[in-house]
Symmetry: C2
């Protein structure tokens, strides 16, 4: 199957690498809104101007959309779903129902499959919430994120006057996780679940106390959390905080038995060196599933909830039953 990438940032580069790990896939190329002559791909794969994409309609099986959820995907996915099978990683949880509806109409009109909100949260974490809720109807859900870099929070700090650069880590509170794992079913506030750790490079002469105060009191982003601010040099930031690690855990604890006397704990955890590369790997697996579903005559919008696990694998049903069941 021929896969193309639409948008070439961290996620697009991740898809470029991930496709090489799948023998049944070939990378057609990258579509970029920037001048193709100025875009250098990791593997040397060809770059096309985004506006020419319809010229290649018959040469691409699945288009993986690597734009951002805030401004790119809400328009991009419905637009491209008319002419292509598409996969996106739309992650604004509250807007998923509206996005689904618009993409579904476009994909059905064009006779295509569109898979939205693919990645790990939404994505693999959502799957684990669903499986655990179906198996243990009487129980409680917990999601912890981190330790990992939050791009949105890092950007928010960079917008403060006097800040030259910043990196923010979201950290789960170990005591809260342990209480959940022991089946204690705690009621946890935002502050009790996560802390925020900030590494900030200040501009020369900036008022550090004011910057720290502005970070810690920033509504929604930081004010509901215990936040630690460390001022470091640009060299230290570049040396020690260049990666984009992330991860987290979805935990459900539930009860069974005649008097619900038995407790069970289901935990799914990810520890990721590179958030965009892992997300890309999930996108690529769902691109395979999209082709299988299209092959069975399905069209319209789908999410990870709608995809039978076997469709993600290059192996046949017989092989899966013999080796992975």
């Amino acid at each position: 199957m021929k896969v193309a990438i639409y948008g070439y940032g961290n996620l697009g580069r991740g898809v470029e690498c991930a496709v090489r790990q799948n023998a049944d896939m070939e990378l057609f190329g990258v579509f970029s809104r920037r001048d193709p002559a100025q875009v250098y791909t990791l593997t040397g794969v060809k770059v096309y101007p985004a506006q020419d994409i319809l010229l290649y309609k018959n040469e691409i099986d699945v288009l993986i959309l690597c734009g951002g959820s805030a401004t790119d995907l809400p328009g991009m996915t419905p637009q491209l779903a008319k002419d292509f099978n598409v996969i996106d990683s739309f992650d604004t949880h509250a807007d998923i129902p509206v996005h689904f509806k618009r993409v579904d109409e476009a994909a059905k009109a064009g006779g295509h499959i569109a898979m939205i909100s693919v990645g790990w949260d939404p994505g693999l974490f959502s799957l684990n919430r669903l499986y655990a809720n179906a198996v243990l109807p009487q129980g409680s859900d917990y999601t912890f994120w981190g330790k990992g870099v939050s791009q949105g929070h890092s950007d928010a700090i960079r917008r403060i006057e006097g800040v030259q650069d910043a990196r923010q880590y979201t950290c789960p509170v170990p005591e809260a996780m342990e209480a959940v794992r022991r089946g204690e079913n705690p009621v946890l506030t935002t502050r009790q679940k996560h802390t925020r750790l900030c590494y900030v490079v200040a501009k020369p002469g900036a008022d550090l106390a004011r910057i720290e105060n502005e970070i810690k009191t920033m509504p929604k982003y930081f004010d509901e959390y215990d936040t630690t601010v460390h001022f470091i040099s640009q060299e230290e930031l570049d040396r020690d905080h260049k990666g984009i690690p992330h991860g987290g855990s979805v935990i459900r604890t539930g009860k069974t038995g005649l008097n619900e006397e038995n407790t069970h704990v289901i935990e799914y955890s990810l520890k990721l060196d590179s958030n965009p590369e892992f997300t890309s790997s999930v996108l690529v697996a769902y691109a395979r599933a999209a082709m299988k579903m299209l092959g069975r005559g399905e069209t319209g919008c789908r999410t990870v909830f709608d995809v039978a696990p076997a469709d993600l694998s290059p192996l046949s049903g017989e092989e899966l039953r013999a080796h992975l069941l």
Copy 2:
């Protein structure tokens, strides 16, 4: 939907309790090969003689088969799949392909859905192996079991001359799990992954040294493991080892990036107070999925690999996308 239980041991009692936690299900009754007058159900639900089951063919939506994999299910599941939608927990991994084929023929002939090998291993653990392999094609799989009671190993000890009762726990080796979680990709022997812990009640006057030696040298069951044997009284066994806890972890570590320079760890763990009650809860969730799939015209044999996650939930697609994605 009306659910019936076929076979009334620990698993059947678990299903009896699990059905009560699902508002869209009703328990029709229990079918037993024992004299119904001698079978006392936990909830007082009616017991029918197993041989009368065809009389109730039109009153039962899904039949959950609660027999054992060694001698019951190989015959029972194909036989009953001709006349009922069935779910079983067939767990002899090596024989799944043959079981699948026989059940598939019977279910297709009868126009029914049959879901085999449902539970946690095979079952939820298998799903996690599949998802993790699809997302990280370059990597290694690890499965650790326990700490938990192995019924098969406990039975094997009980068959030794001079043994009155026994309980065997399978324990993962913490150092091995930690090495895997650190992404060290270790090659582990059977002995390096699990230890076996045995609590044995000897008959009066039995030769304890001989019993201990027979356990530790028993081929396949114990000889490849570091095994510890504790002799205790029947009172201690009944007081401290009455439960049937189990659990374990499926871990996949994999690499991504242009030069596979980034490591990711995916871990799925279960900590279960009651192995049969948890397995029952999984069976009941897949009974719901079977009805949805039948409603779309599907027939034949299926495994957890073939079931779209949304089919396990009583919630609609809209509700799932709004609340769990």
